[in-house]
Structures are given as C-alpha cells and as structure tokens.
Symmetry: C2
C-alpha cells in the first residue's frame, strides 16, 4: 500500500493486510501499557494544575505531542487523524501533496473523542496490571496511552478506506442504500461475520504468542501480560463496531461527492 498510488490503497486485499499488521502494533502497545496500573488521575479533568490548560494530564500531553507531530507532517497523511484538530500546527517541511483517495469531507469524519472515551472507560481496565495509582508512573502510563490511542485511531479510521473501496466496488448498491438512508442496510452490506470471527481468533493466537516470554512458556507462571481473550473482547466490543461507525458515517455522506 502506497498513499501516493490511490489504486493500491483502495485494494481490499491491501487494506486487509494493513489491518492485520496494525493488530500487531495495537497488541505490542497494549502489552507495554500492561506494565502500569489503571491510574485514573491521568484521565481526570483538572486533576493537576496545568497553567493555561483545562483538561486531563493525558489531554495536555497528547495535544502537545500532536503539535510536534503535526510539524513533521503526520496529519497530512490520509490515514492519520488528530485528537486536537484545532490545535495542530502547520508542517515545517514542504507538503507531500498526496493524491486524492477519499472524499473531500473525509477529514470531518473524526470520532477520536468517542475512541478516547471508550478507551478510558472500557479498555484501560482490561489492559492495566491492576486498578489504582502509582504516582511516579503517570508519565510512562500516559506515553503508553497515547501510543494506544493513536494506534486505535488509525485502525478505526481506516474504515474510511474500507468504505470508499466498497463503494467503488458496488456503486449502485451503496448509492441506493445511501439515498434511502438505510443505515441497517448499510451496516449489513459492510459486515462480513466470517472475517470478523477470523480476526478474533487471530487476536487470541497473537496474544498468546506476543504476550509471554517464550523461554518461560512451559513454566508454571507463564501468563500472558494481557489476557488474549480480552484482546478479542476489545476488538469485538469496541474496535470493530467503531470501525463500522466510521464506515457508515462516511458512506452516509458519500453522495455529496458525486
């Protein structure tokens, strides 16, 4: 997949390969986060006094990191979506001028707030090593959270490419569903239960392989750092449904572009 060649990005086999590779990134990041406690004070608005800033410790760090990354062109790339779109800065380097792959409104499809909410409420408890605080690890914990959020955001917003590819492959069928605002019909059209089932099984296998020191595999305490079943649950309950939400949101506006 090469974002300078639109036809490689809208090839469903390439999209699938990219999504499979992203599972590794997400699992590696979750395993890193599993070194720390849930650390609720990281997420609490106004918990720490930060000059000229209302928000959580995580928000402050994420926003400032996005400001640095925006200057090295991160958010020019069509597969990167900022959490603070109003706070990012112009790139220091000449723009890349990516060819148009997605519809013109695609930057407006941004569910990062929803991803962050679900991450904090549902995912952190499943991947942290216990509930509670370790004051000296708040920074490390936040750095891991940011990696997780960015990896989840990229994975979930990849739904835009899935949606565009599916639309182009079955233009008539989707045009009709969109004109009828048939959300249930669109959801059904974009769902492939057999593929979803395979994703969940693969996550369990990857969780077992990546989450345990292989030289301890046959020792008594060789537990995975994050339960492989939780990885599957996280995808089933949040990653896959949120990806579909992005696909539906995108498709519902797709005819603006025709």
């Amino acid at each position: 997949m090469d974002f300078l060649k639109p036809e490689t990005v809208l090839d469903l086999a390439n999209i699938r390969d990219a999504l499979v590779r992203m599972e590794d990134t997400i699992i590696f990041n979750f395993l890193e986060r599993s070194q720390y406690f849930s650390s609720p004070s990281v997420y609490e608005l106004g918990k720490f006094e930060i000059p000229n800033f209302q928000g959580s410790f995580l928000d402050w760090t994420l926003m400032n990191l996005e400001r640095v990354h925006s200057q090295v062109r991160r958010y020019e790339s069509p597969d990167e979506v900022p959490f603070f779109p109003d706070e990012i800065l112009p790139p220091l380097l000449p723009s890349i001028n990516y060819p148009k792959i997605l519809a013109s409104f695609s930057d407006e499809i941004n569910i990062n707030d929803l991803i962050k909410e679900n991450y904090i409420e549902h995912i952190v408890p499943l991947i942290s090593t216990g509930s509670g605080e370790q004051p000296e690890n708040l920074g490390s914990c936040t750095v891991c959270d940011i990696d997780n959020l960015q990896a989840l955001s990229r994975r979930i917003h990849f739904g835009k490419f899935v949606a565009e590819a599916k639309f182009q492959n079955e233009r008539e069928k989707y045009t009709k569903l969109i004109q009828e605002k048939d959300i249930a019909g669109i959801e059904e059209a974009i769902t492939n239960s057999a593929v979803e089932e395979r994703i969940l099984l693969r996550l369990i296998e990857k969780g077992k392989a990546y989450g345990v020191d292989p030289t301890l595999k046959f020792s008594q305490n060789a537990q995975s750092k994050v339960s492989p079943e939780y990885l599957a649950k996280i995808y089933k309950d949040w990653v896959i449904p949120l990806t579909k939400k992005v696909e539906v949101d995108y498709l519902l506006r797709r005819l603006e572009e025709e």
Copy 2:
C-alpha cells in the same frame, strides 16, 4: 522494582527482571521500525530546512518530544536520560522527590550521543525493511526511531543501577580496582559470560515468537519481521558493550561519593 524504595532498585534479581522485560519493549519497537526503509535523510544534518535549527529531522523531533516529556517529569525519574539535556524544560507538575539511589554525579553519565551514533550507523540497517527512502514515511520512521532510541537509552543506562548494586555488594573489591584505575579488572568483575549467553539465546526465541504472525507460522513465507539473529547481534555488539561502558564510567567515579 519501585523507585521510591531504593532497596528494591538495587536488588540484582529485580534489575535482571527489569532488563528482561525491557527486551520485549526493544523488540516490539524494532518490529515497528521494520515496516519502513532505512531512510537516511532522516539522520542527515541540515537535509531539511528547519527554521532556527541546525540538525537532522530526527534531532528536531526528538528534542521537541523531550521538551514535552520533560514537562510531565520524564527526566526526574532516575532511569530516564535525555538526549538533549540542555534543552529540556522544568516539569509542570510538583516534583516527585525520588530518594537518592545513585551517586550524585550519575546524571553526568550520559552516553546518548554514542547510542544515537551506533543506532544510526549499525542498528537501523539491520532492522529496516530495505535501504532507501520513502518520502511519505519519514515522520513514521522518525517516531519509531525515537521509541527505539529511548528504549535503548533506558536499557543501557540501567548499567548505573547494576554498577551501584555490584559496588555495594562487593565494596572492598571494587574500591581497590577503582583506586588502581584498573579498567580491565573492572570489566572482568562486571562480566558474567554465562548470563550474556542466556540473553542472546532468549533474544532469538523472543524474535521468533514476537516477529511472526502465529497464524502464519506454518506457511511458507512466515519470516520474522526482524531476523532473530540480528536481535542477538545488536545486543552482543552494541547493547551489552555500551551497558558495560556505562557501568565502568560510573564505577570509575564512584569513590567521589565516599
């Protein structure tokens, strides 16, 4: 290991566990970097025109990231060493007041420049997917490089804790070697070849387990994303020798503290 309790940090069994866990972080990060080409323009001084900055694209990004991280107390932690110690900023949050674990001069033991040099020259070619450039991936590549450098720096500078623990365990023996400036003797005293051999073997096992999608394990093309032998080589030729350099540098000054 709890940095608020010095006795847990200077326990050689805890240090060993921490170093073993860091192998996972380093391997996960290398596997992420292996998605990209070597991308030499990231490392070339003055390759891109960045206002008010002389240095490489990597340097600019790393320095600005360290500025953000320093404000959330990263470099207060005794196991974190900045690449740009003169550019970091004071923390926004109240200091943690870590108890004293290392000698007072320990912040002056900083071989990050040497780590960066070795990383760029020797390690990048072994972990990237091919040599050459992909202009649209320079940012992603840099983000991975920063994760790698920070993980390597933490691992290698952990030598300070190893050195302090060994010194306290065999005070008389080390005092004599240090007084005699017997560098070869110090190197011999801190070396445990059997342990090093086990590290290399474990890296190969971890490389095989973490570097391959386990559901493809028995297919014909299930190559690891980074050669497990390269992981062992990276440790043997750079990580272990540089960690020993930190230990020796620290010990040579250790009597200043008595």
